[in-house]
């Protein structure tokens, strides 16, 4: 993890400052440190790289704040070439060399421009220096950074760090990083041991380090002369490859589930408005869109008024999106859709008109461009279940969210009095009315519920895709497919339909590519509906007559 996404930036900064303040006096290379830091603000990137490398050679922790600032675009250079660090919070600045706080506002400061090349060297150097951090998390992150860019220069630092290290997790990462640097070394014993460690790591990232050992030269000779080393490399490679087969299946399953849960979320609202109420709701996609825009608005409010609680804006937007989409849905039901019950194909036309209106309204208010909805920090990044298998947090969250929404809908329909009325009305309107149920009121609530759930799906979509006026259009066909595949009027069918489609799609995609995969899924749906015209969960007998 780089400093950009690390969860504890402040802690680390304090730690760095701590080291800076209590560093043992009398470093021999005092002048060199100052000079190198001074060159960090150079306008030539080659010079910056040279000075970063010099700082790595020095191994002086006091350079850390300046290096981190350079990476984060917080380094400033005065006209006179003095290097300043802009603090992460507030407008304060400190001098990179002396650590003196600068109170007055300075104008005409330059920001050194770095590129990826500089960034690599910077990250390595920072990681090198951080190996000595008192914080185990920081050390772990540093070790992982070194895994990405193994460098021979770090060997001695790594050895020293391993000797010092008490935390097992960090030790393991450090040992791996060391192994990576030693594989290419000269000591055969060490190389064999390193290959063993790499093989055990199961990490597909290291194939890159193994492949050259087994490659042949143009003459047909192995590049690696030592048969024993080649043997070890071969077994390490096959260990990793065996592991990758497992990873492959697992990740397809996860991708399938996550795609399935997205489909489930977008289809669930439709399963109610279309499945239960038989309204061919072409405006369903726009309910998703409204939900996503609600998220955007809430995000804006949090940014402006509650910046400290920003991480929780998503939680606040869940009820908001539900209410916004739900209320819009209820208004539409009251004003338009209720005149069209029993004429499903006409609802298609009217709701198509509604969808045009909603899209254009949003376009006129928010503009035609996409708006930015950022992942809150707790949804950024992922969880490495096993080497090579990264489950991203936003996908995990969507799977859980999907399950939660399904559970709530189920509870609502089956355990609440209103849910009972909903079921009664959808099964036999006349009878329900005769029993004293206000069927039109129930209709409004039901439609509102379906739209509200679509709004919830919009919240989820805002976390994985873009938010724009046309957001809903791309999901409308998919959601109808899911509902029909599952069986109209059956919640369980919708769940199976969505998950099934997601998983099939993801297992097909590696072989067929994205386009053909999608086509094949559609063909599959067409064939499936031939076989079971009423979907997976078919209603039979009298119920099916309708």
């Amino acid at each position: 993890m780089s400093s950009l996404s690390s969860p504890y930036p402040l802690v680390r900064l304090l730690a760095a400052l701590f080291i800076l303040a209590f560093a043992p006096p009398g470093y021999p290379d005092e002048g060199k440190l100052e000079e190198s830091i001074g060159h960090l603000g150079s306008s030539s990137r080659q010079e910056i790289i040279a000075s970063v490398e010099a700082l790595r050679q020095l191994g002086d922790h006091r350079a850390l704040p300046a290096l981190e600032a350079l990476l984060d675009r917080r380094l400033r250079v005065t006209k006179a070439g003095r290097i300043l660090i802009k603090l992460k919070t507030g407008h304060g600045m400190i001098d990179a060399v002396t650590g003196v706080v600068i109170a007055q506002q300075l104008d005409g400061l330059d920001i050194p421009v770095i590129n990826n090349q500089v960034r690599i060297v910077l990250s390595q150097t920072i990681a090198n220096l951080r190996l000595a951090s008192p914080d185990a998390e920081v050390r772990l992150a540093a070790a992982e950074e070194l895994l990405l860019h193994p460098q021979e220069e770090a060997t001695s630092a790594l050895r020293a760090a391993i000797d010092r290290e008490k935390t097992t997790k960090v030790r393991r990462a450090l040992a791996l990083a060391l192994a990576l640097t030693e594989v290419a070394g000269a000591n055969k014993e060490r190389r064999l041991a390193a290959l063993d460690i790499i093989g055990q790591s199961d990490n597909p990232n290291f194939i890159v380090n193994l492949k050259p050992l087994l490659a042949k030269q143009a003459s047909g000779e192995f590049q690696e002369p030592d048969e024993q080393v080649r043997q070890a490399a071969r077994s390490a490679l096959s260990a990793i490859e065996r592991h990758m087969v497992v990873v492959g299946v697992m990740q397809n399953l996860f991708y399938g589930l996550s795609l399935g849960s997205v489909l489930l979320l977008v289809a669930l609202g439709l399963a109610i408005t279309f499945g239960l109420m038989e309204v061919i709701n072409m405006a369903h996609g726009e309910m998703l869109m409204l939900g996503a825009y609600s998220t955007y608005i809430i995000q804006g409010i949090f940014k402006a008024h509650f910046p400290d609680q920003f991480a929780w804006y998503l939680v606040a937007s869940i009820p908001t999106a539900f209410i916004v989409s739900g209320v819009v849905g209820m208004i539409l039901e009251r004003s338009i859709i209720r005149y069209l019950y029993g004429r499903p194909l006409e609802t298609l036309l009217a709701t198509w008109g509604i969808s045009l209106l909603l899209i254009q309204t949003v376009r006129l208010i928010f503009g035609a461009q996409n708006v930015e909805v950022s992942n809150p920090p707790w949804l950024s990044g992922g969880w490495e279940l096993m080497p090579g298998l990264m489950l991203t947090y936003n996908r995990i969250a969507i799977i859980c969210f999907g399950l939660g929404v399904v559970l709530l809908v189920w509870l609502f329909l089956n355990r609440s009095p209103l849910g009972l009325q909903v079921r009664a009305v959808t099964q036999n309107r006349a009878m329900a009315a005769a029993l004293g149920i206000y069927t039109s009121r129930v209709d409004t609530w039901t439609f509102g519920l379906g739209s509200g759930i679509a709004g919830l799906a919009g919240v989820a979509l805002s976390q994985i895709g873009n938010v724009g006026p046309e957001l809903g259009q791309s999901y409308i066909v998919d959601s109808f497919m899911v509902v029909v595949l599952g069986g109209v009027g059956k919640l369980a069918g919708t769940i199976w339909g969505a998950t099934g489609l997601g998983v099939i799609n993801k297992f097909l995609e590696p072989f067929t590519g994205a386009v053909l995969g999608k086509i094949m899924v559609l063909v599959f749906i067409i064939l499936f509906i031939q076989k079971r015209p009423q979907g997976i969960f078919a209603l039979k007998g009298r119920m099916a007559e309708g």
């Binding site: 338009i336 194909l345 008109g353 209106l357 899209i359 029909v484």
Partner: protein
């Protein structure tokens, strides 16, 4: 035969149809070709192309009315049949200009820069016009026959059928979007030069295409009219209103539905084929599910089950669209949206129904399809 034809309409109605035909195929071309450009009565060229396009849309609407308005089967796949006909025509136009593309190759341009060395087998034969005409009729017809056979045999109806055809539309759209499929991918086929040796840039050729479209529309209208006036039309309406009664009366509804679905597909294909030389491009976005839905909307706006309504609806919606997109570029979607909602809520029988109400005529008689004709 002629007497049967004459019976399709009352004499009055025939006079109207005849005069409209004369207006379309005689007066409008004359206003464009023979009237001097500075005259008030001069019709600019772009209007001819526009009218030609509307006529093609009207033909699709007619097909949609047959399958939906009369038989109650809402097919959301008409856009596919339309595009297939269009692609067949487009392939012909590409083939006859072989060697005149930007790369001067015998292959269409997109194949050249995709590095294809020879024409794929499914492009063979398209240099012949007769073959193309055959394909324009056969391919949409066969596809409809196959899809229809499987769908109707499994008793898929109503919403399910709509959604199955929508899935087909979507799948085919994605398929045509692929560059490997060999139909020009996203760009489709464009930059046509000649049809049957006539330059497509020539205004006279455009007028010719327009007149052909008008005549094809007229013939198709009469054909549809004949069908709906025959017992077959009543069986179709019977399928729409009470399918089980039709079945228990001994009719095999599969055959009837297949007939009308295939007919609608062929008509749509022909419309697509006429459309392509007039607008100069065919690409997969014509297969967007939204386009097929819009076709249903034309029919709904005009009035379902009236044939004339379909033609009027297609003209009305597209004319409105054409005008609004220039006059109110920011707001035209509102007009369109309100138009659709308003029609469904207040004009369940479309503009034709409104006209009948305005004329304060009670609607009785044999069927809604007779609304114009007899009471």
């Amino acid at each position: 035969m002629l007497s049967q034809l004459a019976r399709l309409h009352t004499r009055r109605a025939w006079i109207y149809i005849l005069s409209l035909t004369i207006l379309a195929v005689l007066v409008i071309p004359v206003l464009n070709r023979a009237v001097p450009k500075d005259s008030v009565f001069y019709l600019p060229d772009y209007l001819i192309s526009l009218c030609g396009k509307f006529l093609c849309y009207a033909l699709v609407a007619l097909a949609m009315d047959m399958i939906w308005g009369f038989s109650g089967i809402l097919s959301l796949g008409q856009g596919v049949f339309f595009s297939l006909g269009g692609y067949a025509m487009g392939m012909h136009l590409m083939r006859v200009m072989a060697g005149e593309g930007v790369y001067r190759s015998q292959l269409p341009d997109f194949m050249v820069f995709l590095d294809w060395k020879e024409l794929p087998w499914y492009w063979l034969g398209f240099n012949h016009f007769w073959f193309t005409v055959l394909i324009i009729i056969l391919v949409p017809g066969l596809l409809a026959l196959i899809i229809g056979f499987f769908a109707f045999r499994s008793r898929i109806k109503g919403v399910y059928f709509s959604i199955i055809t929508q899935a087909m539309t979507f799948a085919l759209m994605l398929f045509f979007f692929r560059n490997e499929t060999g139909f020009g991918g996203n760009n489709g086929l464009t930059d046509f030069k000649r049809i049957l040796g006539f330059s497509l840039q020539e205004p006279a050729v455009k007028v010719g295409l327009y007149i052909i479209s008008a005549l094809v529309l007229l013939i198709s209208y009469l054909l549809c009219r004949y069908i709906t006036m025959s017992k077959l039309g009543r069986v179709l309406a019977g399928i729409r209103d009470a399918e089980s009664r039709i079945m228990f009366s001994g009719y095999n509804t599969l055959h009837y539905k297949l007939f009308v679905f295939t007919l609608a597909a062929v008509l749509s294909g022909v419309a697509g084929a006429l459309y392509v030389p007039q607008v100069g491009i065919i690409n997969p976005s014509e297969m967007q599910p939204a386009n097929s839905i819009e076709m249903a909307i034309w029919v709904a706006v005009g009035g379902r089950g009236t044939l004339v309504g379909a033609v009027i609806g297609a003209g009305l919606v597209n004319a409105a669209k054409s005008w609004f997109t220039v006059a109110f570029p920011n707001l035209w979607l509102y007009f369109l949206g309100v138009m659709f909602i308003g029609t469904t809520l207040f004009l369940p029988r479309g503009v034709v129904g409104l006209a009948a109400i305005l004329a304060k005529k009670k609607l009785t008689g044999r069927d809604s399809l007779q609304m114009i004709d007899s009471e």
